[in-house]
């Protein structure tokens, strides 16, 4: 009896684990696996990437001001800028085109987040040099941050011959400095905005009441109208003071046209200078009076160091 029970037990075990049932099970598993979506498995394996905002602006300039964009690492950017005379000069001045103020500049990306530049403009025979450092990047996905923040410092030197050679003319009197923070956000594909708290320090000003330190808040942005064209605007509000009372706030509107390696920026502005120490505290043009300058920036990149 005991033996029989044992036999039965063994038999039931054997049936349970018989090759037939096992193979059937395997077959079933196989079918299931075939049905499994390999793509879904692949997606499970993928980690969520960090998406950095890119191409917030087309060029390294908004209009007069810098943008948070920089030439890439190892990229040299040449920039030729013109600001013509005032359009209200009428036909005699060919609507300002008879007079041309220009700046020639070069900037170079040492690192993706660091760039230096130099320039020379015929407005007050100004040499300028600048440093641009990206502190934060707008990103989403696995990590997120809402803005791109860039610190910018510019040193400009007026090299006009002294008006009165007999007076005390010290070298330090020729320098002006600009410190600026650019805070930008790309709101989707079309719209990008930038805020620019700025301080301009001038070592020498004309009269005792003029301010050596001028504070301003800049705001600007772009609207993308096609893949290669954007419409830009830029405004600098001078904080109340002597400068704000005697000068105009700089206001510019423009259009960016991008081709392969060029960005062409065409603008209307009430400012003539092409460095911050000139167009922020020394703008005299009044838009409503027609003191508007037509101008352009032409940027061309050269890849010096290939990746």
């Amino acid at each position: 009896m005991k033996q029989l029970r044992l036999l039965l037990l063994f038999l039931s075990f054997a049936t349970l684990l018989s090759p037939a049932t096992l193979f059937a099970q395997v077959e079933e598993e196989k079918e299931q696996e075939e049905e499994e979506d390999l793509m879904a498995m692949l997606e499970d394996l993928e980690e969520e990437p960090v998406n950095y905002a890119f191409a917030t602006f087309k060029g390294v300039r908004l209009i007069n001001s810098h943008s948070i964009e920089m030439p890439g690492e190892g990229v040299l950017q040449m920039m030729i800028s013109h600001r013509f005379g005032r359009v209200n000069g009428g036909p005699y001045e060919f609507f300002g085109l008879d007079q041309a103020n220009m700046r020639l500049g070069f900037e170079y990306g040492i690192k993706p987040w660091l760039c230096v530049g130099i320039g020379r403009s015929n407005v007050f025979k100004t040499y300028d040099s600048f440093l641009k450092v990206r502190l934060f990047r707008q990103k989403s996905g696995a990590e997120s941050f809402p803005f791109t923040i860039v610190a910018y410092s510019n040193m400009a030197a007026n090299t006009l011959r002294a008006a009165d050679p007999e007076a005390e003319n010290r070298l330090v009197h020729r320098f002006a400095y600009t410190h600026q923070l650019m805070i930008a956000r790309k709101f989707g594909e079309r719209l990008s905005l930038q805020l620019m708290p700025t301080m301009v320090h001038r070592n020498l000003v004309g009269t005792p009441v003029e301010q050596n330190d001028v504070f301003a808040i800049g705001a600007g942005g772009r609207v993308k109208v096609s893949k290669s064209v954007t419409i830009n605007f830029e405004y600098f509000y001078l904080l109340p003071g002597h400068t704000a009372d005697n000068f105009e706030n700089s206001l510019s509107v423009g259009v960016d046209i991008e081709t392969g390696g060029h960005v062409f920026q065409l603008m209307f502005t009430n400012s003539m200078g092409m460095s911050e120490n000139l167009f922020i505290p020394q703008t005299t043009g009044d838009w409503l009076a027609g003191d508007i300058h037509l101008g352009f920036n032409l940027g061309r990149v050269f890849t010096v160091k290939r990746k």
Binding site: L17, P19, K30, M39, L42, A55, T259, K307
Partner: protein
């Protein structure tokens, strides 16, 4: 009883081979090359993920468009911003299978010509593709390789007229995958 143990061990063996059917890579390489008389543009991607089911020949690929590395920074930016619109269509995927997987003897070293058929998604557009490639078996390592053309217009990738001379209408895609056995738990 002996018989039972024998059957059981055979089955266990069978099961273990079943689990080794899938091959995985996370560091697959895809290169694309655009050749025109004006300039040649090359971009390399080294983080392509792919799973290959050796039993039925099923094959999937996936990559992030932003992972393509160009020689020139600006090219990379234009590629992502204007041509493939990476923010809108971040991924490109392929799903298909090797139709002649039966001709490949996975236990024997050698290079086998294979035919891959499936659908490729670029820029949000799905197109059927048929590609000739090779599978190279060397011990436990399986390498898949293929080169095929992609016509940009098929995937609604528009090239602006100003750079039309610089970018080829048909670019060449080169795929190189070194697979490793896929262990589910190992992730």
């Amino acid at each position: 009883m002996k018989q039972f143990i024998l059957i059981f061990s055979i089955l266990l063996l069978g099961a273990s081979t079943l689990f080794a059917q899938k091959q995985l890579t996370r560091t697959g390489k895809i290169v694309f090359l655009s050749e025109t008389p004006v300039e040649n543009i090359e971009a390399v991607h080294n983080q392509v993920t792919s799973i290959f089911n050796t039993e039925n020949g099923d094959l999937v690929f996936s990559l992030l468009m932003k992972g393509f590395q160009f020689e020139k920074e600006l090219m990379q930016e234009h590629f992502n911003e204007k041509y493939v619109e990476s923010d809108k269509f971040p991924k490109s995927t392929f799903k298909g299978s090797i139709s002649n997987i039966a001709d490949v003897d996975l236990s024997k070293d050698g290079t086998y010509p294979v035919k891959v058929e499936g659908s490729l998604i670029i820029h949000g557009v799905t197109q059927p593709v048929s590609v000739d490639g090779t599978l190279t078996i060397k011990g436990e390592n399986i390498t898949a390789e293929a080169t095929f053309p992609v016509v940009l217009a098929d995937y609604k990738v528009e090239i602006p007229s100003v750079v039309r001379d610089n970018i080829a209408q048909e670019v060449s895609i080169h795929v190189l995958m070194n697979y490793e056995p896929f262990k589910k738990s190992g992730k």
